[in-house]
Amino acid sequence: MSAGVIVICAVAVLLLLIVVEVPVGLALAVSGIFGSVLLEGWPVASDVLSTTPYYASARYALFVIPMFVLLGALVANAGIGAQIFTAVNKVVGRVPGGLPATTVLATAAFSGISGSSAADVAAFGRISVQEMTRKGYSPNYAAAVVAAAGAFAALIPPSIVLVVFAITADISVGSMILAGVLPGLFSAAVLAGYVVARTIWSRRGSPAEAHDSPVDLTRDAPEDAEFARYQQSRRGSLIGALYAVLLFAIVIGGIQTGLFTSTEAGAVGAFAALLLTLVVKRPKHLTRWAVVARSLKETSSITSMVFLLLVGAAIFNYFLISARVPSDVAAWVAGLDLPAHIVLLLILLLLLPLGTVLDGLSMVLVVTPIVVPIVNELGFDPIWYGILLIKMTEIALITPPVGINVFVIAGIMKATKVEQIFRSVFPFVLLDLAVTAVLFAFPSIITWLPSIATPAG
């Protein structure tokens, strides 16, 4: 059997396992070993299985992942998300489209500390959709705004996907994190502008409903109305906003100034979140210990999820490299009689159908080892292209059938159907593609911040 046929068989096994509900990490491992058995025989495949789970996990650079996850879990469990939401709402809530804009900007602020796009959607889903529905927005549109905001915010550091790309592509994690800042903020600003413009357009001629009133959290938390009142109070909102700014400043400021490495930034950020969790006001039914214990258990579980993907991808990528797939593809692409920019654009567009079966993180893990050699071969900056690649995985977060953000928000809002949300989210997919085109055309939006950073010693 030729290597090409074996690769096709292994990819077929991978897709088959994914669609029958096998965890993606496990599916990658099984199909990678399956391919290795066909390509190199049982002894080699068996050796890969015995050593890869250790070597794919025991890497200092990966230590940043549990740190960022812990940081996000502490913030989420302490109920800070609602405080950030009300803080943003106090600023933009009264403009037309203020509620969807609040959702977008609060998600951007929260994503700066949570590290997970789906976590952002989960954190703001209930409040956002309930409040928007109350103010007359359709539930499907409200859900689509939340799902899109989570996807648009995926670039704002600390993002797990950014870290995983950097490690897989063997480039500086710190540079990659900094590279995500401006495109992330730009994406959030474009989306906020779009939802405001859309509201003004749809409400023209009806001045009575031209403004969104402030949110009221107490209606949704009658069992702990006192905490909800605190969350939406001026003081609670201010503390929430300060909390977000402080943690973002520690992580990004620390890396930017070279005070510490990206890994240490994650640890210092998580430590600061831990200290803040111990001093901020919390829900009545949760002790400080309960917030910390729940966050630690979640962090352990989510870290394991990410690492199962990493281990599975390492096994699968070993197989791909053994089959010479990355080098053959790079050589084939280099031999194409097409301008380099067109080649890179075509690769990005090819990622779209892949996003219909793989989630963002899995896509990054599978595609990066194949794509980065091509980018290097063509003489482009892998950091620039990495951000574009992650933008495409963002789109995968809101496209059927594996749009995780849509499934998360549909799970939170039981009354809305996934198919209807996917329909409502379509304009946001087009908007995201337009933003990606701008980033493609103007690379300095991505590369400027890392270029002025001071590397940690």
Binding site: L17, I18, V19, V20, E21, V22, V24, V30, S46, L49, S50, P53, Y54, S57, A58, R59, Y60, F63, P66, M67, L70, G72, A73, A76, N77, G79, A82, F85, S114, A118, A119, A122, R126, I127, A221, A228, Q231, T263, V268, L274, P283, L286, V291, A293, L296, K297, E298, T299, S300, S301, I302, T303, S304, L308, V357, D359, S362, F407, V408, G411
Partner: protein
């Protein structure tokens, strides 16, 4: 589609999680229910241990940064220790991530299948996963034994031993294998294991 997010900050008010009744404590509780309860309890305990490990690594790293900021030397061997400890943290949570259904998967096809077909498919794929993971447990276990006999340690002055981490890899995979077995049993019995129960 199930992801981590049902658990990660799903409620901005931080409201209490819904309590799931213990099947083993009900009159109809069976040996299999008890087995499920035991495996899930062990998985949860291991996840908490992993969480404590993460907290320790945070404190160690922050201490190291503070020492450097104060003009002192770095903690000797911290990077080596962190790498080995990271393996413990990761594999302690493997089984719990399956109990929680945190491992990323897609159910868009299986949830459209007739119940009987779906159960057969899930039982078959989880049986395959169980067999694969058992093979991985055996191979990583052999690797751990080799590492122990050779006295393998980090190739630096710290000399941090590696074999405990290799043992942990095998144990973590065993935990995931047991959860796969529980998924087979759950599919055969027509119910979902873990977080979906």
């Amino acid at each position: 589609m199930r992801t981590d997010t049902e658990r990660l900050g799903a409620d901005p008010h931080g409201s209490a999680p819904t309590e799931v009744p213990d099947p083993a404590s009900t009159p109809g509780g069976t040996v299999l229910d008890r087995l499920e309860t035991v495996t899930e309890t062990v998985a949860r305990f291991a996840a908490y241990l992993g969480g404590v490990g993460i907290a320790c690594l945070v404190l160690a790293t922050v201490t190291d940064v503070a020492r450097r900021a104060a003009g002192m030397t770095s903690i000797n061997g911290l990077v080596d220790l962190t790498e080995v400890a990271l393996v413990f943290v990761v594999y302690f949570g493997f089984a719990q991530a399956e109990v929680d259904k945190t491992h990323i998967r897609t159910s868009f096809l299986t949830e459209r299948l007739p119940d009987r077909v779906r159960r057969v498919v899930l039982a078959a794929v989880w049986a395959l996963a169980f067999a694969f993971l058992l093979w991985a447990v055996v191979r990583t276990g052999q690797s751990a034994a080799d590492s122990f006999h050779a006295g393998e340690s980090r190739a630096s002055q710290s000399g941090v031993p590696v074999w405990p981490a290799r043992v942990m890899v095998s144990l973590g995979l065993l935990g995931l294998a047991l959860q796969s077995l529980m998924n087979v049993i759950a599919a055969v019995r027509g119910r979902r294991s873990g977080g979906d129960r």
